[in-house]
């Protein structure tokens, strides 16, 4: 009697265990078939596919790991695709940016060659044609600069420089141009020495491009250059009193070939600021642009102090 009871209970327990294990097996089987389907899809190139799993599943670590691998692959692929697209866009807009001034240049030269204009007017035509040729040359040069940066082929010579001294020298070169263009200026650079680890040529290019940008696009007549320094970093602030940057353009101005001026009128080439950003980031710095409430825009570059 006692033994039959024991036997009865042990049978029930074994049946329960078998049912439980069977259910578990079915669940794992289903999971594996899910994983198989998803992997098939991923193999075909759908890197967006994820394998969903519950916290109680036996296969969860495998799923999490597969998902992570796929996600990493995908983000790399997207980066590649983005730069590919950027190059494509660069090429199309390039052909326009070159074609427009070139066509106009040809027009002027033809007029001169065909003797449609003579005397003083001819001289003027030659002047205009030359200016256009210079503009094209500038464009090609900044393009070259930019391509070198983008392809990471530029070799930098980093050294410890006195940021204040270097800035003063660059500004001294700019003053005649500013006066020539009737720009007022206000310069505030600390007298102390402040060491920053940078490439001199790159820093010159950064400031030149920023100033060029303000002269061409701000529409203002005043420029303020300030440097603030503390124990960890220096902030270089360039402010103008122009019309500011329209809100819809503000987040794009550092993109290559982005021109706030949709008409792509002949001044400027949309490369200057993207070169600036690239160079600043190579110096482990940051750049941002803001509009001032009373008009005008301000560019702030921060560079870390050399240790």
């Amino acid at each position: 009697m006692k033994w039959t009871l024991v036997f009865f209970f042990s049978t029930i327990i074994s049946i329960c265990v078998i049912v439980y294990l069977w259910a578990k097996l079915c669940r794992v089987k289903e999971q594996i078939s899910n994983i198989k389907d998803a992997l098939e899809d991923i193999k075909k190139g759908n890197l967006n596919r994820r394998i969903l799993t519950r916290k109680s599943d036996m296969t969860k670590t495998i799923c999490y790991n597969i998902n992570e691998i796929v996600m990493n692959n995908q983000s790399q692929l997207t980066k590649l695709k983005q730069s590919e697209q950027a190059y494509k866009r660069l090429m199309t807009s390039l052909s326009h940016d070159v074609k427009t001034p070139l066509t106009s240049l040809v027009g002027y030269l033809e007029a001169i060659q065909e003797k449609i204009v003579t005397g003083e007017e001819k001289e003027e035509y030659i002047g205009v044609a030359l200016a256009k040729a210079y503009h094209l040359k500038d464009f090609v040069e900044s393009l070259f600069e930019w391509v070198k940066l983008d392809a990471k082929e530029q070799i930098f010579q980093f050294e410890i420089c006195d940021l204040n001294e270097l800035s003063r020298n660059i500004l001294a070169d700019w003053i005649p141009t500013l006066e020539d263009k009737l720009f007022g200026y206000e310069i505030d650079i600390p007298d102390l020495e402040y060491s920053v680890y940078l490439d001199r040529n790159a820093y010159v290019l950064i400031l030149n491009n920023l100033f060029q940008n303000i002269l061409l696009h701000s529409g203002g007549d005043k420029i303020r250059f300030q440097i603030f320094e503390d124990k960890v970093q220096a902030a270089i602030i360039v402010t103008d009193n122009g019309k500011g940057i329209p809100k819809k353009h503000l987040s794009h101005i550092f993109e290559r070939l982005y021109q706030g001026d949709e008409s792509r009128s002949t001044s400027g080439n949309g490369l200057g600021l993207s070169i600036v950003q690239e160079l600043v980031s190579i110096h482990s710095g940051m750049i941002r642009a803001e509009n001032l409430s009373h008009g005008g825009a301000t560019f702030t570059i921060t560079l870390p102090k050399a240790l």
């Binding site: 994820r50 799993t53 997207t78 106009s104 792509r264």
Partner: protein
């Protein structure tokens, strides 16, 4: 086609005698943001509900991931994330607890999916506030978090910015763009606000009284609807010279050997034509294009326009 994520064929929905959706052929392409634009009651939500199987289809077919929905629900729906109208959550549980329930039901692709999803929409993890005490904006954010919880390939968002403040709207917009650009997701989004869709979408479908009136890429629509004068002439170099000298045109771009776009639409086109003729430059065409996107939508919807 491999590139189409959602395709509907002759999709129709009839409630009683009223045809709410009338033979809609929608094509949502992979990795793009598709904006469904229409006024209130145009049928946007009904289309989304039919795609998600939340509303029965009167006639027509829906393909998602190149499979018909019928019979494949189990494989298709886990790959979609959606918000339709106000999402249903348990009012007496906190946001985190609500999402954990969904994570358990649906499975997730990462170990700490709930925390990450809440982080993305800017809600606190393990906060004590229960759902019924949430503001409309917070509810909407939790809905978005729920939609992205399992890192789906396709997101279907029905007016996701409803009830959000302007900053929240901008956040959601940039977040959706990131999902698409950086992570290759496909997004179907609906809205009745033209300006919002035009900032976000790659492709646009305009729906009016249940009929899909137009389906096109935004770039194409923009190209068709910007302000410029299109000038086609035999010799662009000569034409550009004339325009520069006599009409002081500065904002133009040369498209190809015969086409110039002038961005100043106030120019006297008759005078330009006459001057070009007198200089022996034959004019193939000269036309003013100055429709705005808004004008265009008004035209498409038969004068009623879109809010």
């Amino acid at each position: 086609m491999d590139n189409i994520v959602i395709e509907t064929r002759q999709l129709t929905k009839i409630y009683g005698e009223q045809t709410v959706v009338n033979e809609v052929n929608l094509h949502v392409r992979k990795g793009r943001i598709y904006g469904l634009l229409g006024r209130n009651g145009a049928g946007k939500t009904t289309i989304m509900k039919m795609i998600l199987g939340l509303s029965s289809v009167t006639s027509g077919e829906v393909d998602v991931f190149s499979q018909t929905i019928k019979g494949n629900e189990k494989y298709i729906y886990p790959r979609i994330g959606a918000i339709i109208e106000t999402p249903g959550f348990y009012p007496n549980l906190t946001g985190t607890e609500n999402l954990e329930i969904f994570a358990k039901l649906r499975g997730t692709s990462r170990p700490n999916a709930v925390k990450e999803a809440l982080g993305v929409v800017g809600l606190p993890y393990r906060d004590k506030k229960v759902f019924s005490k949430y503001s409309l904006g917070m509810k909407q954010r939790l809905g978005i978090a729920n939609a992205i919880l399992h890192d789906p390939e396709l997101l279907i968002l029905d007016e996701p910015t409803n009830g959000l403040d302007p900053i929240g709207i901008a956040e959601v917009r940039s977040f959706i763009q990131d999902l698409c650009v950086k992570r290759g997701k496909t997004v179907l989004i609906s809205s009745h606000i033209l300006s919002e869709i035009s900032l976000l979408a790659d492709d646009i479908g305009i729906i009016h009284n249940g009929v899909l009136l137009e389906e096109n890429s935004l770039a194409e629509l923009h190209k068709r609807n910007s302000k410029y004068i299109l000038l086609q002439v035999s010799d662009t170099a000569k034409a550009v010279l004339l325009l520069e000298r006599r009409f002081h045109v500065k904002e133009y771009s040369v498209q190809d050997t015969h086409t110039v776009l002038l961005y100043d639409t106030d120019l006297d086109m008759a005078e330009i034509n006459k001057a070009l003729m007198l200089e022996n430059i034959s004019v193939i065409s000269l036309q003013l294009c100055n429709d705005t996107l808004e004008d265009y939508f008004k035209k498409v919807t038969g004068g009623e326009g879109i809010a």
